[in-house]
């Protein structure tokens, strides 16, 4: 761990003035030094600093900024929460359970009770991938500005099965899987004001920029997250499979949001986590369900379609079968 300055930002505006880099920028510009970055709970950042992956000169704390830890729900506007809302707050919220069941399941199965109490949703969305090459001081990989992806020929059992050509890191946030399924939006604040975009547009693939998992700019921070009001009859579910049941990252996770009319599925959103560098919509599987009565057979077929076109790597063929199963089970659990 390097020596760094620690500052508590009094407001979002001040924080934006003080910061000069995102964490990805601080990593790829390590040789220049002088990075001023923001932190929420610091759960992920501290890990990265300890491993020597990032060495900021200044860390600006956002936690004490008033108003960033508010959560609101009403039937007119849906769910909205600030970036400093903890995972535990969402996991324990009754409205979330009632209205956004998949989000409840995702938050309740993230990390450990201790981490859920500390970790914030803003930090959760901005955390860096768990790829063990990216996390290793000894591997200067593409994502850190190097010229090799060690996972391509290496130990890729936990890596992606889609979009694997450049950098097969999977997105580390399993909660994002559920958020994308609900068409969540993020509000980003920067020197030029605010912009709102779908979370699915916020996350970016390696071909856009391999060193970064989203399009946050140097002086931008997430200031709000919103989920739209759901149509009546909407049902959802989420299943995560880790190597362990207690405290583990996802080997594969699936969120399903179904808009039902009686027994018929009007529209479906199915999102795969830990399958690709971003939470991935399974469009063919979604299309299959549209207008149909959900049966076990149909759900299984949706599972098959969800993994169509996958390009598994040397050590992760098992994920195909895993996702088939998780998609089927999530659909059946949702209805």
């Amino acid at each position: 761990m390097n020596r760094f300055e620690y500052i508590k930002a009094p407001s979002v505006g001040e924080a934006i003035k003080m910061m000069n880099s995102t964490v990805p920028e601080a990593i790829i510009n390590a040789n220049k030094g002088g990075a001023h970055i923001v932190k929420a709970a610091g759960v992920d950042l501290l890990d990265l600093i300890k491993e020597g992956v990032v060495s900021p000169d200044r860390v600006i704390d956002l936690r004490q900024i008033p108003g960033l830890d508010k959560l609101n729900f009403d039937q007119q506007n849906g769910l909205s929460f600030g970036p400093m809302v903890t995972i535990a707050t969402l996991a324990e919220n009754k409205e979330v359970y009632k209205n956004y069941r998949a989000l409840h399941e995702a938050t309740a199965h993230a990390a450990t009770p201790q981490i859920r109490n500390m970790a914030t949703m803003g930090g959760n969305l901005m955390q860096r991938p768990r790829c063990w090459y990216f996390r290793s001081e000894g591997h200067h990989c593409l994502k850190k500005g190097g010229d090799v992806c060690f996972a391509q020929k290496g130990q890729n059992q936990l890596h992606a099965i889609f979009d694997t050509q450049i950098c097969p890191c999977v997105h580390p946030s399993s909660i994002a899987t559920a958020l994308v399924a609900f068409d969540a939006k993020v509000e980003l604040s920067g020197p030029d004001g605010k912009r709102n975009l779908l979370l699915s547009e916020f996350f970016t693939l390696p071909e856009a920029n391999v060193t970064c998992e989203n399009n946050a700019q140097s002086k931008e921070i997430i200031t709000n997250i919103t989920l739209p009001v759901l149509k009546p009859g909407t049902r959802s579910f989420y299943i995560k499979q880790g190597q362990r049941e207690s405290y583990d990252w996802s080997m594969g996770d699936v969120a399903v949001v179904l808009e039902m009319e009686g027994k018929q599925c009007k529209t479906a959103r199915i999102v795969l986590g830990a399958a690709a560098p971003v939470p991935m919509r399974a469009s063919k599987a979604e299309a299959l369900l549209k207008g149909k009565t959900i049966t076990e057979k149909l759900a299984a077929k949706a599972g098959e379609l969800a993994v169509e076109g996958a390009t598994p790597m040397e050590h992760n063929h098992y994920k195909i079968q895993l996702f088939k199963t998780l998609v089927k089970r999530s659909i059946l659990a949702a209805v």
């Binding site: 000894g138 063929h317 079968q321 895993l322």
Partner: protein, 813 residues
């Protein structure tokens, strides 16, 4: 300077150059309990030294020994009052930190430590030339520990994480900064970290020349003088139980059924809660060491030898210790470095490894590839067993797995060839039942296969081929508790299939006769027991208190236990499950001798014979005249000296040893039953329940024994399903060198565990106790594997049994 590398390499735990069995001036014959209560308990007469205490009755007639007794130091542990090595703070103490190799194989072309030396707050920098604890190359000048002081002979780097240099500074942070200022120019060399690749012709060589392993108390090192070709060293064809037997080929010819299989097990790391580490305080009159070690005397002996100090000038203290599991013997590279830095700087130096260093440099259970073949007659009689095994302990030795196949079942034709394969990875170390855990995974699955071919229930078949009385009882009681009723393999309906399985474990009964204790009775009635033995978390302090209390008619909490300090008489190293069986007889004998001295004084005062006196419930009384009675405390107040003390060492086993001065008759048997659920659509296995039936001679403290069994089962579950040291073949790094991606079982992975502890009396010593740490861990993975087969009807031949392997076995992928 002494030369550690020229020490005779001996078979692990086998007799070396010590005297053999001991003769006694006077002997007596005593009758001791023998056998298993409720099964075959009887009495046996042994001729023992005249100063041995009388026979101890079976547990249900005792008041302290054999009773569930809370740890006497529990309060200190839960309140944080207990000071572990990592808690030690000394005035002026510096912090040590290593520069470690970033390459799996490299030569150092140049090294410049000047910037580190100049860094503010740095007191000493040292370049380490030879790393103790690994295999040592003998022929290139690296054969003397003096090299550890020389800067001109730079080490060849053979794994990522190998120590190169150390820094001592005023804080951990400054030491880390200084390490980064050391400039090294490397010449990188080809490397190999994979077992199969390392065995190929033309694979990069780990050692150019023949190597032997340095010995420490816990090593299970390779056989001395074994052959070496390429990265392959061996074969080792025997163990301390002997070599090959009979004619194996003939045995197979005469077999009606032959089963064989290739089994693979992974590298497992120890993951003790407390990492390896030492605080070294070099003073002109004494080197004082605080060590997280399984053997205080092994650290003392290593350092005395390396630094040319008399044993009396090195003091090693281990008051509390956070687990070792076999990897914490000897001074270690960090210990040597801490001492050098302390000597150079004139300050105490603390050097605790961080978790990454722990995972990559501080030991592991070698992996294995085992080709096991067994031939049987139609009636199930074992005709021939043939085992060939390969395994890598990285740059170290000790990957053998054959002792279970050699010794658990009677088979007159037996042969094995065990090979160590060198790879560019951190050295292996002894790890909770070294070899037996790996070997059991293979053997017990094949035994099940034979049972199935013979159309016999696995338990019924073991009843037929297993000569062990203790395991017979364990099978019976275990099956009852478990509710053993087996479906046909794979016949469970549904997606999640349930299955049950059983496996047996085997561990030798090992004794260290170099185990001594002093018992001291003070005026006023306080009683102390003192020994260099350490409590590595198993509860040694408590059983010592129990044994002394039982002898003196007191309560366990009345006894002050002072251990973990080489100032006291040497205790055993805590490895091989030797501690309880080695130190408690010494403790009881010392207590008995001190008691005799006290009773001698009382007898003089009361004008009765000593033999007429006894102690019970805090009182001393005459058996012939119950009016003669005095409290223990009052009696001590009349002592002629302020203290009475006696020291005793572990005598030979009463019936003698089976091998040397160390391997006792009888084995520590175990039988474990597992129930699993296998999700056939995801490949995920969950262990639902384990019933573990165990013996450890006379159980001294069932509460602590249960803790050991629970821990052994949990570790076995981790080994079976989750844990795996994953090496990157392209870069030679361990990619999961932490506790996040190295998967230990956590709360939800832990099955419901039920224990059965069987009392077994062997009349071996004055306490007749044995250890339990290792037996608890041997059978678990094999029992789970057999249960998985029962659930899905397909066998998994490789550990850990992760979803990808299960799905592949089910041919889903």
């Amino acid at each position: 300077m002494a030369d550690i590398n020229k020490k005779k390499i001996v078979l692990p735990l086998a007799p070396n150059e010590e005297f053999g069995s001991v003769k006694h001036l006077n002997t007596k014959k005593i009758k001791l309990p023998h056998g298993i209560p409720g099964h075959n308990l009887t009495e046996i007469e042994r001729e023992v030294s005249a100063d041995e205490p009388p026979a101890l009755a079976v547990n249900d007639q005792l008041s302290v020994v054999g009773k569930r007794t809370k740890r006497i130091d529990a309060i200190y542990k839960v309140t944080g009052a207990a000071k572990y090595t990592s808690d030690i703070q000394l005035p002026g103490m510096l912090y040590g930190k290593f520069l470690r190799s970033p390459h799996p194989h490299a030569k150092i072309k140049s090294i410049d430590v000047s910037a580190a030396e100049r860094h503010r707050g740095v007191h000493a920098v040292h370049i380490l030339s030879v790393e103790p604890g690994g295999a040592v190359q003998r022929d290139n000048g690296h054969d003397a520990p003096a090299e550890t002081y020389h800067v001109d002979k730079l080490p060849v780097l053979r794994y990522v994480g190998q120590p190169i240099a150390g820094v001592a500074a005023i804080s951990d942070k400054v030491a880390r900064e200084a390490v980064q200022l050391i400039k090294v120019e490397y010449e990188t060399l080809p490397f190999v970290v994979d077992l199969d690749e390392a065995m190929k012709k033309g694979a990069p060589l780990v050692f150019e020349e023949k190597v032997e392993q340095q010995q420490t108390g816990g090593d299970v090192g390779g056989e001395a003088g074994a052959g070496q070709q390429g990265n392959l060293r061996g074969p080792s064809i025997g163990s301390f139980y002997g070599g090959p037997r009979g004619d194996v080929d003939q045995g197979f010819n005469e077999s009606d059924i032959v089963v064989e299989g290739e089994f693979r097990t992974q590298v497992q790391t120890h993951c003790a809660l407390e990492t390896h580490g030492i605080v070294a305080d070099w003073q002109t009159n004494m080197l004082t060491i605080y060590a997280s070690t399984q053997s205080t005397k092994s650290v003392r002996n290593d350092l005395a030898e390396l630094f040319d100090l008399p044993l009396s000038k090195v003091r090693v203290i281990t008051e509390y210790m956070g687990g070792g599991f076999g990897a914490k013997f000897g001074a270690g590279h960090f210990g040597v470095m801490a001492v050098v830095l302390s000597k150079k700087s004139g300050h105490p130096v603390k050097l605790m490894l961080d978790r990454k260093e722990e995972q990559t440099t501080a030991g592991n259970r070698p992996n294995s590839q085992q080709m096991l073949k067994i031939g049987v007659k139609k009636d199930g009689t074992l005709q021939a067993i043939d085992l060939t095994s390969y395994g890598t302990a990285g740059i170290g030795l000790g990957a053998g797995v054959g002792r279970v196949a050699q010794d658990m079942y009677t088979c007159s034709n037996f042969r094995m060839a065990q090979y160590d394969v060198f790879t560019h990875a951190g050295p292996g170390a002894a790890f909770r039942a070294p070899g037996n855990v790996q070997g059991c995974f293979a053997l017990e699955q094949l035994i099940d296969e034979i049972a199935e071919k013979l159309n016999l229930d696995p338990l019924a078949y073991r009843d037929k081929i297993d000569q062990s009385e203790i395991r017979k009882v364990e099978r019976k009681k275990g099956a009852e508790k478990f509710g053993w009723k087996r479906k046909q393999p794979g016949s469970d309906s549904g997606v999640v299939k349930k299955g049950i399985g059983v496996a047996q474990g085997h561990w030798p009964r090992i004794i260290h006769v170099d185990s001594s204790a002093t018992v001291r009775i003070n005026k006023g009635g306080s009683v102390e027991i003192m020994s260099g033995v350490q409590d590595i978390g198993t509860g040694t302090k408590t059983i010592l208190a129990q044994v002394v209390a039982e002898e003196l008619g007191l309560k366990a909490e009345d006894i002050t236990v002072k251990i973990g300090d080489t100032t006291y008489p040497d205790g055993p190293g805590s490895g091989g499950s030797v501690t309880a069986g080695s130190i408690t007889p010494a403790a009881r004998n010392a207590a008995y001798q001190a008691k005799m001295q006290l009773l001698g004084q009382v007898a003089g005062g009361w004008q009765v014979e000593i033999a007429d006196l006894d102690m019970e419930k805090g009182e001393i009384f005459a058996k012939s005249d119950t009016s003669k009675r005095m409290s223990f405390v009052d009696a001590t107040k009349k002592m002629r000296t302020n203290q009475i003390m006696a020291t005793a060492s572990r005598p030979d086993d009463y019936g003698g040893f089976e091998v040397g001065n160390a391997i006792g008759y009888d084995r520590l048997g175990s039988v474990q039953f597992a129930e699993v659920s296998v999700d056939t659509e995801t490949g995920v296995i969950k262990v639902d329940r384990v019933v573990a039936a165990h013996s450890c001679g006379r159980p001294l403290n069932p509460l602590q024994i249960e803790s050991q069994i629970n821990g052994g089962v949990i570790m076995g579950v981790g080994y079976a399903l989750y844990e795996d040291r994953i090496m990157d073949k392209e870069t030679g790094y361990m990619v999961n060198a932490n506790l996040d991606q190295y998967k230990l079982p956590y709360s939800k992975e832990i099955p419901h565990i039920e224990n059965i502890i069987i009392e077994q009396y062997g009349a071996h010593s004055s306490t007749d106790a044995s250890g339990i740490g290792e037996p608890a861990n041997v059978a678990t993975a094999a029992a789970i594997a057999n249960a998985v087969y029962n659930a899905i009807g397909v066998r998994i031949y490789e550990l850990p049994m992760t979803p990808d392997k299960v799905l592949a076995a089910l041919q889903v992928i």
